[in-house]
Symmetry: C2
Subunit: 330 residues, 2 copies
């Protein structure tokens, strides 16, 4: 039913290879012929079949994008940005959701491998050696994780954690808690490492509660442990958990920020709408999505550079943090 290259060739009285050239190397074809072919193609509604083209060129003009959870509000802006950037570069994007499952991740990469030019692996849960192995089967750009030798895009969460803790310590908090994220998360490990070191340097206590599901329920469920730990301020792995935690604390009769201060990470849209508005470390997710696509696409042209990009984060001070027990007197 849909027009093929042959239909266009017949209609315009040329060989199919001329039609092919008209689309893939227009400069190699006589201007007059070209416009004739183009006109026929137009009127027949012809569009080159990319899958057929890919069979021979090896380039599908498709990209894969694998995330842990599409419905986690952290991802949609990144997906949107990646999709937009890909389309700008004339590529389409397969989006898949792993439900936070490392096994699904692996399978998905392999399943996509044949029909994409590369995949964006976002916040992977699998281990590094498997990622390295997969990167030999299909070009990979890893987002939210640093893997030696592979192109990566990460947020500077270490700086974010330092800023957050400095903020809390400056407010007079000396008993902190850290709500870790899911097992397998590079970001969670990174935050924990930095937070631990920063707390030690600042000579404040830090109770680590980890791992937790990176969801509101995860934060909610941790509220009791936070209270039991005697912390006056908490840094959460992400905003969702921070929001859940605030709700959990509320249920326990602990107000935020008067009772306990809470800092999130991500700056999802939601964090500006809750009451209290969430103090959080903003992550440039859209920029990350665009950068990852660009790296994947240039990766093909020029394999020498396996760049690793670290994007700046920014502490957004809002209403979920306040003076701690050791605050300077006003």
């Amino acid at each position: 039913m849909p027009a093929t290259i042959r239909d266009v060739a017949h209609a315009s009285g040329v060989h199919i290879s001329t039609v092919s050239r008209t689309f893939s190397a227009p400069h190699l074809v006589n201007a007059e012929t070209r416009s004739r072919v183009l006109a026929q193609a137009e009127s027949l509604g012809y569009r080159p079949n990319r899958a057929a083209r890919a069979l021979i060129t090896g380039r599908t003009h498709n990209l894969g994008l694998i995330v842990a959870d599409i419905a986690n509000p952290f991802f949609p802006p990144m997906i949107k940005a990646a999709e937009g950037q890909a389309r700008l570069r004339d590529h389409h994007i397969f989006v898949a959701d792993t439900n936070e499952d490392a096994l699904v991740e692996e399978d998905l990469v392999r399943a996509m491998a044949k029909q994409v030019d590369g995949v964006l692996l976002c916040s992977p849960r699998m281990n590094n050696s498997l990622i390295e192995q997969l990167s030999r089967e299909v070009p990979l750009v890893v987002v939210n994780r640093l893997v030696a030798g592979l192109p990566c895009v990460v947020m500077d969460v270490a700086q974010g954690a330092r800023d957050a803790i400095a903020h809390l310590v400056g407010l007079g908090h000396r008993e902190l808690a850290l709500l870790g994220g899911p097992r397998g998360s590079w970001t969670s490990r990174e935050i924990r490492k930095t937070a631990t070191a920063t707390a030690r340097t600042a000579d404040v206590a830090l109770t680590v509660i980890s791992p937790n599901p990176p969801t509101e329920d995860g934060g909610l469920a941790a509220a009791e442990q936070v209270v039991r730990a005697g912390a006056s301020a908490v840094l959460a792995y992400n905003d969702l958990m921070a929001i859940g935690l605030i709700e959990g604390l509320d249920a326990l009769g602990v107000a935020v920020p008067t009772g306990i201060s809470v800092v999130g990470i991500d700056d999802i849209a939601l964090s500006r709408r809750t009451r209290p508005k969430l103090t959080t470390v903003a992550n440039p997710t859209s920029a990350a999505g665009r950068a990852a696509v660009d790296m994947l696409l240039q990766h093909g042209d020029d394999r020498r550079t396996t760049a690793q990009v670290m994007l700046r984060t920014e502490l957004m001070i809002r209403d979920s943090t306040g003076p701690g027990p050791f605050a300077a007197q006003g």
Copy 2:
């Protein structure tokens, strides 16, 4: 580099057609031969190239999913559900974002047409005749719009609007306002039609403010008009607008629900987290995503039935609605 069917054929000492059968019609091949082939395929890491297969079978095992705005929290749960359902049925999904632009929509459908078995057109902004035309080029399932003769999945927004207005009238409101959605939205027209009729029946005034961008800013920008209209209660096209409106009203010194009551539509996750919690009409978006995928996939097997599915909505009464000027005295 990746193993092809030929590699497997050589390795297992059979003709490629036997390997092909092993994967696409296993019952036609000797059990012994089959297991030998499978073993070699496994050890070579062979996976059939779906694009090549599609060239001949005409089935790509890919689906397209087109939405107005990935970052609009209404869509991610639907995308997630659709992707999950598709994978269950061994299909992959291309996701694309039109930025609420009807022209982009059309182009996207055509661009995907050749490499998918069908596309889910979600909340389309283009007109019906174009949709019908496109449905002749590629199987389409329309979500959030009823188009005669095409398979569609919609939410019963009419019932939702009736419920919302009944709720408000019951609360003693007699001056209502409706915040419409974007131009081209079937849902928005449907809500408006029903709301107008329902208001007339109930003998209450209804000021329609439309169209508006379906975003928080859209709601925020409309706050002044709402106040000027003298309405004591508002039904908004979606939760995002409702939330923006509440913020805008707040800025104008009007409290919700004491000054004005607000009802949203969708029941996005966010609506349970705002203060006040939003009264809203819940839309079963995940169910819609799954249903749409199922319809698209069975559409291929059985073209006789072009089902139209209408999913039930449910009014969630929370804290953004309260007694109006004509409330019965307590």
